[in-house]
């Protein structure tokens, strides 16, 4: 006998269609009711609901900077009633893959922090608004450190970004180990002086004069060779997109780096990347390291004993110092609230927000705004303690440029460094035993192919 429990399932086509239509109608009604109950707040994703919603991506992962940015956003919300600032932390390693996906999905943020080479790619892809209205609001080009906008922000007659803060690559060293080895470094050391110091402080198997970081997973090796090439008076490519890795300057810089790699660096140098710097210095594994003030600032907080033993010089000088500027910048992607985005970007530079932000991690960030180069900035205790490092950074910012930006922002820099042709070339020489000339010739071909690709797209 059939019971309700074991009654066979019976559904006709009409029953099924009635069920589907009923479910669809119910869902539609619920959706309509939900829309009626929506107060137009920050959760809305389109139309009127977006009028007060601003999305801000930044790369600041440390707690102090994250909290400070939230406080700035809260103040902006207070001064702009009805506005909601949504912050998403997007570390720079994720940024190159995240913005294209967001652009495809129509979800670009309104404001973002960005590296200059990424900003050029975004500009090429039509993902950015110009920053000129914000620049005007701030008082024009003279508001920034002299020359900085030409070196990092001006592209195709527009300012595609504005530097939020700057720093310069320096050569840090452990003063205690250098003193034990009986060597010292002047403030602007030559290549020979650095090589001598690195070799003198190498005590295998656990202490190396200058542990190189040549992993192909980041651009540390490419940046280091660029600094040395810049120091030798050369460059990787010219403004017309011609590779120049086969020039004497690049060869000399490569030979210097290979000499360091063979005589003062250690096993594992092809696996280390820039993020390993702090632990290598902290452990005493490397005596010299190319750093920004950031590593000193972090050491001052996390490892004060080590920080007390650290000092910096300019990067080695051949015909000029090998300065490399880092310019973490603000840009305006084509989000949903361009006008509000301009106001928020300007707000980040406001007096009550700017220098206090730079002080969240002292020595990490230096002023891009000329007016912020003030006694107030230098009075911060850690910055005052490492005044030489601060002054070297500011001098380097004036003298140097971002990597590959000798003539200002261009579309070639990002792809050339991201191709990792330089890291592959250095690995070929140091691990694979290739000779410098043939390795440079191969890398030059790779870089030229990359440049040609871009040139053909640009017409």
């Amino acid at each position: 006998m059939s019971t309700p429990a074991n009654k066979p399932l019976s559904m006709s086509r009409r029953g099924f269609m009635r069920g589907v239509l009923g479910t669809a109608a119910g869902t539609g009604m619920l959706g309509a009711l939900s829309a009626c109950g929506d107060d137009g707040g920050s959760s809305s994703s389109s139309g009127e609901g977006d009028s007060g919603r601003l999305v801000f991506w930044h790369n600041y992962t440390q707690e102090a900077r994250v909290n400070f940015m939230r406080e700035v956003a809260d103040r902006f919300e207070e001064s702009h009633p009805g506005t909601t600032v949504e912050i998403e932390v997007v570390p720079f390693p994720q940024f190159p893959t995240k913005w294209p996906a967001a652009q495809t999905a129509g979800n670009l943020p309104d404001v973002t922090t960005v590296l200059p080479e990424h900003a050029v790619s975004m500009w090429q892809a039509g993902a950015l608004h110009p920053m000129d209205p914000v620049l005007e609001e701030l008082g024009g080009s003279s508001a920034f450190v002299p020359g900085l906008l030409d070196k990092a922000a001006a592209y195709e007659d527009q300012h595609i970004l504005l530097p939020h803060y700057v720093h310069n690559r320096l050569l840090a060293h452990r003063t205690d180990i250098l003193a034990d080895a009986g060597v010292s470094l002047p403030e602007r050391p030559t290549w020979d002086e650095v090589l001598t110091a690195a070799q003198a402080t190498t005590k295998e198997p656990d202490q190396f004069g200058w542990m190189l970081k040549l992993s192909a997973a980041d651009t540390g090796g490419g940046y280091l060779l660029w600094m040395l090439t810049h120091s030798a008076g050369g460059r990787f490519f010219d403004a017309d997109g011609t590779a120049m890795l086969d020039t004497p300057e690049v060869k000399r810089a490569t030979e210097f780096l290979v000499e360091i790699g063979h005589t003062a660096s250690g096993p594992g140098q092809v696996n280390y990347n820039i993020n390993d710097n702090f632990s290598l210095i902290n452990a005493g594994t490397t005596v010299l390291a190319e750093v920004s003030g950031a590593e000193i600032g972090i050491a001052a907080v996390d490892a004060p004993d080590i920080a007390d033993k650290l000092a910096t010089t300019f990067m080695p000088t051949d015909v000029r110092p090998g300065n490399l500027i880092g310019a973490v910048s603000l840009a305006l992607p084509k989000g949903k609230n361009p006008t509000l985005a301009q106001e928020f970007a300007a707000f980040l530079y406001a007096e009550e927000n700017y220098v206090p932000f730079l002080h969240t991690i002292p020595l990490f960030m230096f002023p891009a705004l000329a007016s912020a180069n003030s006694p107030e900035f230098f009075a911060e205790p850690t910055i005052a303690k490492y005044e030489a490092t601060a002054q070297q950074t500011l001098a380097g910012v004036e003298e140097g440029s971002p990597p590959g930006f000798e003539d200002g922002p261009n579309p070639y820099t990002g792809p050339v460094f991201n191709s990792h042709a330089i890291e592959q070339m250095l690995q070929n020489i140091l691990v694979g035993g290739a000779d410098v000339d043939s390795a440079l010739a191969t890398a030059n071909q790779t870089v030229q192919a990359t440049l040609d690709d871009i040139s053909s797209r640009l017409g």
Binding site: S12, T97, Q124, G268, V431
Partner: protein, 329 residues
């Protein structure tokens, strides 16, 4: 008494009857005639309607991305430039003339087969050993599956640290044991980088194999072993004639699944070596990543991924063929 069959037949026969005309509706004998057979056919096969949403979802989330990827492989789509154009087979031509692509295929095959073989062997040994444990099998099983539970980034950096030539524990232990005279840069030397990442992958993947094989072992009737022992069979004979045949299907499914996963694995290799040194560990996923996400060359990356799909289809087809032959035997 009404049987299920009777009910089903009644439903079918009811749905065969023409639907009664709606009250008040004007007669239109010709206008509705064309789709009546379809409706009648659907009445007899309501299950087709039930399957349609699932199939549509599958097409949306699988076929669309695959189709979009194939389409991209015929264009010069680059994320740094707003427009793209049809370039025919140019991306494929460029990929197939790149020596690095073929080197990456070779390395991917080495990476996949050695990893899966190692995982299977270790997993099998672990499963046999664990089955013999009578007390505390649960905690042991839990302990052994820990590697599987950690995020790959944690595992990759832990292994990178352990294999570090200066502060790594592996060198220290090997030197104390007299196996090596001086520290080795396991991930920084061409000859040792691939074996090192494979060892790491075997360690990571064997617990999955072990748990699945243990479950398979527990489905083999104990009576088979008891009969064999009565007949005087030793451990190896039991293994060969009872255990392995009993696990054949589980092993087949595991090998196919793990091969696909390991073949497509990107994070372990990239996080530990970045594909280096000198491309010694550059597998196809890493190669595709370098093209697509560092150069933004989506068109060429799509061509690489289509080629990867081809290689993977060949591998799986061979596996399935081998399994089918085995089944027929």
């Amino acid at each position: 008494m009404t049987s299920r069959l009777d009910s089903a037949e009644r439903i079918d026969s009811r749905s065969e009857e023409p639907a009664p005309a709606l009250a008040g509706a004007p007669p239109s004998p010709g206008s509705r005639r064309w789709y009546r057979p379809i409706l009648r056919w659907l009445d007899r096969r309501t299950h087709v309607l039930l399957v349609i949403p699932g199939v549509a979802l599958l097409l949306g989330i699988v076929a669309y991305p695959v189709g979009f990827n194939v389409w991209n492989s015929f264009t010069d789509r680059n994320l740094s430039f707003p427009t793209s154009a049809w370039v025919g087979l140019a991306n494929y031509e460029r990929v197939l003339t790149d020596a690095a692509f073929f080197s990456a295929i070779t390395r991917t095959l080495v990476w996949t087969f050695t990893s899966v073989a190692g995982q299977l062997l270790l997993g099998f040994i672990g499963a046999i050993a664990l089955q013999a444990v009578r007390r505390g099998q649960g905690p042991l099983r839990l302990g052994l599956i820990i590697p599987w539970a950690f995020p790959s980034i944690v595992l990759a950096y832990s292994w990178k640290f352990m294999l570090d030539p200066i502060v790594g524990v592996v060198n220290d232990v090997f030197m104390r044991l007299g196996l090596i005279d001086q520290p080795v840069a396991w991930l920084g030397t061409e000859s040792t980088a691939m074996p090192a990442v494979v060892a790491m992958n075997i360690w990571f993947g064997f617990p999955f194999m072990m748990v699945a094989l243990l479950a398979g072992l527990q489905t083999i009737p104990v009576e088979h072993y008891e009969s064999a022992r009565v007949d005087g069979a030793n451990f190896w004979q039991e293994l060969r004639h009872i255990t392995l045949p009993g696990l054949r299907h589980v092993i087949g499914a595991l090998v196919v699944l793990r091969s696909i996963w390991v073949f497509n694995n990107f994070d372990f290799v990239y996080l530990t070596t970045g594909g280096g040194p000198i491309r010694a560990t550059e597998t196809l996923p890493v190669y595709a990543f370098q093209i697509g996400w560092t150069n933004y060359d989506i068109g060429r990356m799509a061509a690489v991924s289509v080629a990867m799909l081809g290689v993977l289809v060949v591998i799986v087809a061979v596996y399935l063929k081998v399994l089918r032959v085995d089944k027929e035997d």
